[in-house]
């Protein structure tokens, strides 16, 4: 009679940890990967809406208008950005993504009346043409950054950090440094390209003020200047960005994505978006700049409910990156070519992964032709098809947002407020400073 096998769970050295140790022991390298944090973190799912009933009066969901217009950059810019919806497309580089993917995002955003953002590789003519409203990033690397593109941008976003790797630079591996990418970045083809973690021409908050002023001078004070930070010491950083003269502050939480960085960074640096948003709002409240400086939150925004909760907590708009890529087809089982759906499962398997689990943007071997610079793979993204999907996704988010807003009795999504929310977990209640559902308790508030 054989002895029965009992597999005792090990919460210290579980499968994931064991795999990590064995990989480290085999290769002597830390893991580099794409996308964002995968660990369980308090997030917008841990909040719920207290929609109207007897004490609040709802609006008719299918009939009464709910305004979504969003204006960004009202502080100093002569031409603030006016968007149809409070959902923007986050900065993603040409290099990390194909020019076609950027084109698709631009077309979809344009149809929905919102903005897209360049990335760490400069502005491509395709995305300028396809994006009605384009935010041009000024990053530490300054790859492809030039005054002609500065002058044709609708806003400038000075990037200090991003949520996936606050305090860290980037690494675009050589397989994605195609001739065009190399040319735009003034680099040799195939080199493993490092993106700097600090700007080359300024350091510290006093310098930041002068830098923002330079960008304003170059653009004749016409367009809004954003400052983007990765969420760590959010209160201080938001206040410094405002003191330096930002029109808009973009706060990217821990769940924010990247095309490639160290796994240890993605999972172990920064604070969750939920906590970052509350701190950012408090910072603006403490310096009496709510309404003067607009706040964009990003990092793991996935649904219309997430958008609505972010706005209720005090954001003026949200920005989405990974979710927009997924709408393009990232992690889908199929890609669309010549009117047919083609199964890409084998290509995922060749990367050692499967649809729904892929984070191999850094390899350049994207099975669905989004995060690649290989011409054969690029053909897998049907731009029109992908743009339609992103447009549909944005439309869905907006419908969900307005549905929740109307149910809260709001004729404008920007009227959503903290009182419309309750927390479902103690962690979320503490981080978001929203009372735990069914109580008046905010952990930490009032000394409790």
């Amino acid at each position: 009679m054989s002895k029965s096998v009992y597999i005792e769970p090990n919460y210290t050295y579980g499968d994931h940890t064991l795999y990590y140790i064995q990989q480290a022991a085999e290769h002597g390298l830390y893991e580099i990967r794409g996308l964002g944090a995968k660990r369980r973190l308090p997030n917008f799912d841990d909040l719920t809406f207290l929609t109207a009933s007897a004490s609040r009066y709802p609006l008719e969901g299918y009939r009464e208008k709910c305004e979504t217009k969003t204006v960004l950059g009202t502080r100093f810019a002569k031409n603030p950005i006016e968007l149809g919806i409070p959902i923007t497309i986050a900065g993603m580089s040409f290099g990390a993504l194909t020019a076609q993917a950027k084109d698709g995002l631009g077309r979809a955003a344009g149809e929905m009346g919102t903005s897209t953002t360049t990335g760490d590789g400069g502005m491509t003519p395709e995305e300028r043409r396809s994006s009605k409203t384009l935010v041009y990033q000024c990053l530490p690397s300054r790859y492809g950054f030039n005054p002609d593109d500065v002058r044709q941008a609708d806003a400038i976003e000075l990037v200090i950090g991003q949520g996936a790797k606050p305090g860290g630079g980037g690494m675009l591996l050589g397989q994605k440094i195609s001739p065009r990418v190399a040319r735009m970045r003034t680099l040799p083809e195939g080199v493993d390209q490092r993106s700097a973690c600090r700007h080359p021409d300024w350091t510290g908050s006093d310098d930041l003020a002068i830098k923002l002023s330079e960008l304003r001078e170059i653009t004749d004070w016409q367009v809004p200047i954003y400052v983007k930070i990765g969420a760590t010491r959010v209160k201080n950083d938001v206040k410094l960005a405002v003191a330096a003269g930002a029109d808009v502050v973009v706060v990217d939480g821990m769940q924010g994505g990247t095309a490639a960085t160290q796994q240890v960074f993605i999972e172990h640096a920064g604070i969750p978006t939920l906590a970052a948003l509350r701190q950012a709002v408090e910072a603006l409240e403490e310096i009496d700049m709510v309404g003067q400086v607009q706040l964009i939150i990003s990092g793991g925004i996935r649904s219309g409910a997430d958008v609505a909760k972010a706005l209720a907590m005090g954001a003026d708009a949200v920005s989405i990156g990974q979710a927009a890529m997924m709408a393009l087809g990232c992690n889908a089982r199929h890609y669309h070519m010549d009117g047919q759906l083609v199964d890409a499962t084998e290509d995922y398997a060749a990367l050692g992964t499967a649809p729904g689990h892929c984070h191999h943007c850094h390899t350049g071997r994207c099975p669905v032709g989004i995060a690649t610079q290989t011409p054969e793979l690029e053909k897998r993204l049907d731009v029109e098809w992908a743009a339609r999907r992103v447009k549909n996704y944005l439309q869905t988010l907006n419908m969900e947002l307005t549905t929740l807003a109307r149910a809260c009795g709001k004729s404008n999504v920007h009227n959503l407020e903290r009182e419309d929310l309750a927390a479902l977990t103690i962690e979320a209640a503490a981080m978001a400073k929203i009372p735990l559902a069914g109580t008046d308790w905010i952990p930490g508030a009032g000394g409790y």
């Binding site: 290769h27 002597g28 390298l29 690397s141 300054r142 950054f145 030039n146 005054p147 500065v150 002058r151 690494m171 591996l173 050589g174 970045r185 003034t186 680099l187 040799p188 080199v191 493993d192 490092r194 700097a196 080359p200 021409d201 300024w202 310098d207 002068i210 830098k211 002023s213 330079e214 001078e217 170059i218 653009t219 004749d220 004070w221």
Partner: protein
């Protein structure tokens, strides 16, 4: 502003009376149709962002010291600062030239894509950081970590170079006439070729310096960090 010497081609901006914004707006807009080819800026008094974002074939003489970012993102213009400058003179310069008669603070021509920047005195640390194709000639010495992560272009140093020179270089090339007090990661001294001598001679002539070419040493990338390698992890 006023016209100088009754010449329609010359104009004076007194930054004691006008603002930097007035000057920049003029350079960006009215200048094109004005026929003005030379602008003199008086009383700069160390102000920041003087003559940034210019895209016109104009000469600008700044009579005094300038602060940060003077000549930032310059295209076509020829700017001369008759004094010292703060951080990041000629940052992201695309074309044209900038000449500083005195000394320059940190990050000269940071991320510059083209054009020529001449510092007649010394330049502080990170001179030529992240440069992407511009040429820089420094009459004196440069501070530490100069040409850090420089991607393309040429830095000529007629004096000495402080430690960390050329750290993490890509394809930019550095020439130093004096002492090199330490190279950065992946930077190495290489023999001078005839092409190198010709390049240095050309840049010295354009900068207005006259030195014995035989005194210059070439520093370029060893290219050992071009591909990520765990064994080099402390050097990235």
């Amino acid at each position: 502003m006023d016209t100088m010497n009754q010449s329609a081609e010359a104009l004076r901006f007194d930054l004691g009376e006008s603002t930097v914004r007035d000057l920049n707006q003029y350079l960006h807009h009215e200048l094109a149709a004005s026929g003005v080819r030379h602008i003199e800026v008086t009383n700069p008094n160390g102000q920041h962002n003087i003559a940034v974002g210019v895209d016109a074939p104009v000469s600008v003489d700044i009579q005094g010291h300038a602060g940060y970012f003077v000549g930032g993102m310059n295209k076509q213009a020829h700017i001369t600062v008759h004094g010292n400058v703060g951080w990041s003179v000629g940052e992201n310069i695309m074309s044209g030239s900038i000449r500083v008669k005195g000394n320059a603070s940190e990050c000269v021509a940071a991320s510059g894509h083209g054009g020529l920047v001449v510092i007649e005195g010394d330049a502080s640390s990170r001179c030529g950081i992240s440069m992407k194709g511009c040429d820089i000639v420094v009459g004196g010495s440069v501070g530490h970590m100069s040409a850090f992560m420089a991607q393309a272009g040429t830095l000529v140093v007629c004096g000495d170079a402080d430690p960390g020179l050329g750290d993490s270089l890509y394809e930019a090339v550095i020439y130093v006439r004096g002492s090199i007090h330490g190279l950065g990661a992946d930077a190495q001294e290489e023999p001078m070729s005839n092409d190198d001598y010709a390049k240095v001679a050309d840049l010295l002539e354009r900068a207005g310096f006259d030195y014995d070419l035989q005194d210059f040493k070439r520093v370029a990338s060893a290219r050992s960090l071009y591909h990520w390698n765990a064994d080099h992890h402390q050097e990235y």
